[in-house]
């Protein structure tokens, strides 16, 4: 007889205890099964486990505070209770080069993903018509067989028409998916993220030979000009930027760095600027060229200093004669004197850096806009120097060039579509007709943890673990000047009957009739992650980072032109400026209750959608805060309440992206309106990227305030005009 140790004692007690309890219950349905604890944690004592936040592409390292607690779990398909380590709170990992111990608002909310009430707890198969959201639970065995069957059929019928749709997230997970697809003979993975800066990558490839987003050394910069990039809020690597910005503001020494933000609508980032310049949408590049013109004309720098980046801009060598301050004023609306002053400061108070991202690139002239800013940076010598811009070293293993969703939709529909946390039915314009395309796909499986607009069309749901329950990794493309590959084991055991997506793919790969050739080198994702990723060889300053996927092109110089907008100015008088909201980014975080209740930084709206309009626009329309307007483009219309904002001009209206979900858990479904739906399908020509800032709209008041706009704040001014009673 084995000696009685604590574990055995617990096991025996648990079983006998449960049996004794059960014997006392009359009704079998009231039995609560209690599982043996799988780990020993001292109650009340926290252990800190590392992980990686998956909510945006930045890939910041976090630590999870794990404490003992009792949870309702599923083990082998059976529900029951157990004591286990539960992640309670996330903090930035102090050792991580991107987060440096800090964490952004979305990262703080991320812990709610694991405990979300509407999380999928087990595999499901569709039981009603596609899109009705009717599913029944099945076992993993059945689920895996179904998937294997479909993949077998696709492989057998010739070149495997399998599409794997996810977000662009560089790292080992993506690598594994690409490897599996390659061995299946399927095309490269498809990535879709509406706010992905493909245009900037293309421009950087042309200007600097790096198909990559830039890393800004804000901590050491003395002069920062941001053209529309919400870098402290939602753009690129906002946490890393913010940490560096904090260092910039707290830098000892006499001279205060200057931060200039150039955009048509005051963003959260713009609020921190020392100088905020309002600019006509899509003309930011003209301003950048105007600055370059002044710098070159004043003899502060010479044209050849900008090298290849300068040569790519039409008219650079002759000093950009078309971009005098007066011409720039006419084009952009920025006063000529300011253009002149800004240019001189930018060239004098170095190290200086300019950045462009987000809305300015979501135009038909997006590439020219980015090339202009690249040239400006090169002119003042901010590439690869302290306080300037650089490229983060990337992994040595080649990453397959992903296909775009548009490309995939233009080709013959795949036979099998695998969805991993991408939601194009919501995040792509209605004009793209994604739903119609999905109907043509015979089999759709989703690995997501939630049913959203896209996975509602799936035939099979194979819910992944939440990030805290699985092996995670990230290899960010920006945010630091050294190579950072983060790998972390699960911070807690899975609550439910979910399985890690990479492991599911590997398992399915093993079950295929035609085995994957060559065989996958790893049995599990964990195994893959044991071998550390290696950085590319030591980079030279201008050529650090991942090499361009294609050969350097002999690109003729690009001329900056005004953007082409959809909709005539007479019929559609307003520029439509959708923006990534601080709470939800592109809407993928709208299911988290903390983020729904978070007051928007500028409007303080909670649980709401809104349209920001200028006070004169409001007078014209006869609307006050909360009144409902109909916003119409050539591609559709929506209704939302109005917020009168001093931060936007009379020729534009802005709307946060994130609400307007039809199907996305109880917290987001049926709430607000989705500005992405009414975007015109106008594209940036070089990348095919949606020009999501190029739509024009018209507005009309349709109803009085109906309570759908919920604001946390009362007044908007510190010294309200109280003679009117309220601010």
């Amino acid at each position: 007889m084995t000696p009685m140790d604590r574990r055995r004692f617990l096991k025996v007690t648990a079983i006998t205890g449960t049996t004794a309890a059960l014997a006392g219950c009359g009704n079998p349905e009231n039995q609560i099964v209690r599982f043996i604890p799988e780990e020993e944690l001292v109650p009340g004592i926290a252990v800190w486990k590392p992980s990686v936040c998956p909510l945006c592409a930045a890939g910041c390292g976090v630590i999870a505070r794990v404490m003992d607690g009792e949870a309702e779990v599923f083990r082998k398909g059976k529900p029951g209770l157990t004591r286990m380590g539960l992640a309670r709170k996330l903090e930035g990992d102090p050792a991580h080069p991107l987060s440096k111990g800090r964490l952004c608002v979305r990262g703080q909310a991320a812990v709610q993903v694991t405990y979300h009430p509407d999380r999928l707890v087990a595999p499901q198969r569709r039981s009603g018509d596609r899109g009705t959201g009717q599913f029944t639970e099945i076992s993993w065995e059945e689920a895996l067989s179904l998937l294997t069957e479909r993949l077998d059929a696709s492989v057998a019928a010739g070149p495997a028409q399998i599409a794997f749709l996810s977000r662009p997230r560089p790292g080992r997970r993506h690598e594994l998916v690409a490897e599996v697809l390659r061995r299946l003979g399927a095309p490269a993975p498809v990535t879709f993220e509406i706010f992905d800066d493909a245009v900037l990558r293309r421009a950087n490839e042309l200007s600097f030979g790096r198909h990559q987003l830039p890393t800004l050394d804000l901590a050491h910069t003395r002069y920062l000009v941001s053209f529309g990039a919400d870098l402290l809020g939602t753009w690129n690597s906002p946490l890393a930027h913010s940490v560096a910005y904090g260092a910039m503001r707290h830098a000892p020494g006499g001279v205060r760095p200057k931060f200039v933000q150039v955009e048509p609508r005051m963003s959260q980032t713009g609020a921190s600027a020392d100088q905020w310049l309002a600019v006509r949408p899509g003309t930011e590049g003209a301003l950048a060229l105007g600055l370059a013109h002044v710098i070159m004309k004043a003899g502060l720098r010479a044209a050849p200093a900008a090298g290849r980046a300068g040569a790519l801009v039409d008219g650079w060598a002759s000093g950009l004669p078309d971009f005098t301050p007066e011409a720039v004023e006419r084009e952009t609306g920025v006063p000529a004197a300011r253009v002149d002053r800004l240019a001189r400061e930018f060239a004098t108070y170095g190290p200086a850096v300019a950045v462009i991202g987000g809305a300015p690139l979501a135009h038909t002239n997006g590439l020219a806009q980015a090339l202009a800013v690249n040239a400006l940076n090169a002119l003042v010598g901010s590439i690869g120097v302290e306080g300037g811009t650089a490229f983060m070293p990337q992994s040595a293993s080649p990453q397959a060039q992903a296909r775009t969703l548009r490309e995939t939709m233009a080709a013959a529909p795949p036979q099998v579509l695998l969805l991993d946390d991408a939601n194009p039915v919501f995040a792509a314009p209605a004009a793209w007709k994604v739903t119609e395309w999905l109907r043509q796909v015979p089999f759709i499986a989703s690995f997501g943890s939630f049913i959203d607009e896209t996975s509602a069309h799936a035939d099979l749901l194979l819910p992944d673990h939440s990030f805290l329950e699985s092996w995670v990794d990230s290899a960010p493309e920006s945010g630091a000047t050294s190579f950072v590959a983060t790998v972390a084991p699960p911070a807690m055991r899975p609550l439910y009957d979910t399985r890690s997506m990479p492991d599911v793919l590997l398992e399915v790969g093993r079950r295929l009739k035609q085995p994957l050739t060559p065989a996958m080198p790893w049995q599990t994702f964990e195994e893959m992650l044991q071998t550390a990723a290696t950085p590319e060889s030591a980079p030279t300053p201008a050529a650090t980072g991942r090499p361009a996927a294609t050969q350097p092109l002999t690109q003729p110089p690009t001329a900056w032109r005004a953007p082409v907008l959809d909709g005539s100015a007479d019929e559609y008088p307003f520029h439509f400026l959708p923006f990534a909201s601080q709470a939800f980014l592109d809407g993928s975080l709208a299911h988290l209750p903390w983020l729904q209740e978070l007051p928007d930084p500028l409007t303080t709206a909670m649980w709401s959608s809104w349209v920001e309009i200028n006070v004169r626009t409001a007078e014209q329309l006869g609307v006050a805060d909360g009144d409902i307007v109909e916003v119409t483009s050539t591609a559709g219309s929506l209704r939302a309440p109005v917020v009168i904002s001093p931060g936007i001009g009379p020729d534009a209206v802005a709307m946060p992206v994130g609400q307007g979900h039809e199907t996305f858990t109880r917290y987001a479904s049926g709430r607000g309106a989705n500005p992405l739906a009414i975007l015109a399908p106008i594209a940036e020509p070089s990348t095919g990227q949606l020009a999501w800032s190029a739509t024009r709209v018209k507005l009309a008041k349709v109803a009085e305030a109906d309570g759908s706009l919920i604001l946390f704040a009362g007044a908007t001014r510190e010294r309200p005009d109280h003679t009117k009673g309220r601010g």
């Binding site: 007044a715 010294r719 309200p720 109280h722 009117k724 009673g725």
Partner: protein
């Protein structure tokens, strides 16, 4: 009717106790059901939480606190009429004293319910009482709410004494006029009163002491209630004028309530012989005086605020004068000042209906005044980001209506069991019927008729 002696006064005033009309039962039924609705609303609130009311961040006080101050204010009627008029030997007070004292007693009791209703955890209301608790803490004596506890209880006890003491001779009278169960009950209540000289002396002495003592208590009660507001740094709360302002307002609303009660009693219990237009005329003059005083306080406060032009205070000021609260503010001014001064300044208009109408307006206006003290200030405090709004929700409205019904119900029940006019006082005052000639009476009646 048991007429043991030829005493028409006693007969008239005891009759309501002995004869009950169907209207009485009907009235009690209706009022009791409204009160029951209020109780149900409170039960609902106790079950679910204060969230069923309309209060929020930052307007944490609303209807309940308004009603609290309002009812405590109404309770000042008794003091003024009974105590002050007694001390100055005003004869015309005699038929009026008990009506007034009853208003005080019940208004206080109803008002005292609201501090309990407004609590987040009302089952712990007794923690404001100073008793040796297991928490090993006395209440925080620096808190105006604890002062409220002492003040209101002192006033309640004082007022009840002031009310009950003079009821003793009347209970004895009823004891001597009834038989059976009634006799036993009223006999017990009469505490063995035989009407001896010593007893009368003692009663008069007690009443004199109470009259003197109750006045500072009454003044301090509403001053202390005003401290609930003036002690906090809320814009337009933190004002030194609040003490006198609240007391004046309380007396003002109290008199108005008294006039309404008297008019109702006069009509329902047919007390035309005892409650004369003269009484209403005198009370109307007091009402006019209080209206002028009220207007003076309001003007003084508002001018000071406006002249000082402090931004935080001006935000509240303008929100009442021109902003969201303007309709309520101007209604209040009309009800409390414009109408009373216009009507009560002229003798020909100081008729009973006129005076009752003005009083109803004053009751409404004074309720609005309490509301306008509490809510606009809380809506617009020092940090504009945290400005908010308040709107009452059904539970608060139902409870409020129920308290008005409760007041009416308690009054009705009281007048069923105790003579609403103090019989012995009338006799002592040697006023079986005030001498009013037929012509004078006809003239006064004439004022009731509609005029072109």
């Amino acid at each position: 009717m048991n007429r043991t002696r030829n005493n028409p006064l006693a007969d008239d005033l005891v009759r309501p106790l002995l004869h009950t009309s169907v209207w009485f039962y009907g009235g009690v039924l209706v009022l009791a059901s409204i009160v029951a609705c209020g109780a149900a609303a409170w039960a609902y609130q106790l079950w679910y939480g204060m969230g069923v009311a309309g209060v929020n961040w930052p307007v944490f006080w609303g209807f309940y606190e308004t009603n609290f101050v309002f009812w405590i204010g109404i309770s000042h009627a008794g003091t003024l009429i009974s105590a002050i008029l007694r001390l100055v030997n005003a004869r015309w007070r005699r038929p009026v004293t008990r009506c007034a004292e009853v208003i005080t007693a019940f208004a206080l009791m109803i008002g005292a319910i609201f501090p309990i209703v407004h609590l987040g955890k009302p089952w712990l209301f007794f923690w404001v009482a100073p008793y040796p608790s297991s928490r090993e803490l006395w209440p925080n004596f620096r808190s105006p709410l604890v002062w409220d506890f002492f003040a209101i209880n002192t006033y309640l006890i004082g007022s009840l004494l002031f009310l009950i003491l003079p009821m003793i001779p009347d209970f004895a009278l009823i004891r001597d006029r009834t038989t059976g169960r009634r006799q036993r009950i009223y006999g017990a209540l009469a505490l063995g009163w035989q009407g001896t000289t010593t007893q009368w002396h003692r009663l008069e002495a007690a009443m004199q002491i109470m009259a003197v003592a109750i006045i500072p208590v009454a003044v301090s009660v509403h001053t202390i209630v005003s401290f609930d507001f003036s002690m906090a740094h809320v814009p337009m709360w933190h004002s030194t004028i609040f003490g006198p302002y609240f007391v004046a307002g309380a007396i003002f609303s109290g008199i108005a309530a008294l006039i309404i009660a008297m008019a109702a009693l006069r009509r329902m219990l047919k007390l035309h012989a005892y409650l004369h237009p003269l009484h209403f005329d005198n009370l109307a003059k007091l009402l006019l005086l209080m209206s002028l005083l009220w207007g003076y306080f309001v003007f003084s406060e508002r001018l000071t605020v406006w002249y000082g032009n402090v931004p935080t205070e001006m935000a509240v000021f303008w929100s009442t004068q021109r902003g969201a609260f303007a309709p309520f503010y101007w209604t209040m001014v009309v009800c409390n000042f414009v109408i009373p001064v216009s009507i009560l300044s002229f003798r020909r208009l100081r008729t009973i209906p006129g005076v009752v109408l003005v009083s109803c307006g004053v009751v409404v206006g004074m309720w609005l005044e309490r509301f306008l003290i509490i809510v606009p200030g809380l809506s617009t405090k020092q940090l504009p980001y945290s400005w908010g709004h308040y709107a009452p929700r059904p539970a608060e409205v139902v409870i409020m209506v129920a308290t008005f019904a409760a007041m009416a119900l308690l009054y009705m029940l009281f007048s069923k069991f105790v003579p609403i006019i103090s019989i012995w006082e009338m006799k002592v005052g040697n006023q079986p019927h005030p001498a009013v000639s037929a012509d004078e009476d006809e003239e006064r009646q004439g004022l009731w008729r509609a005029r072109p």
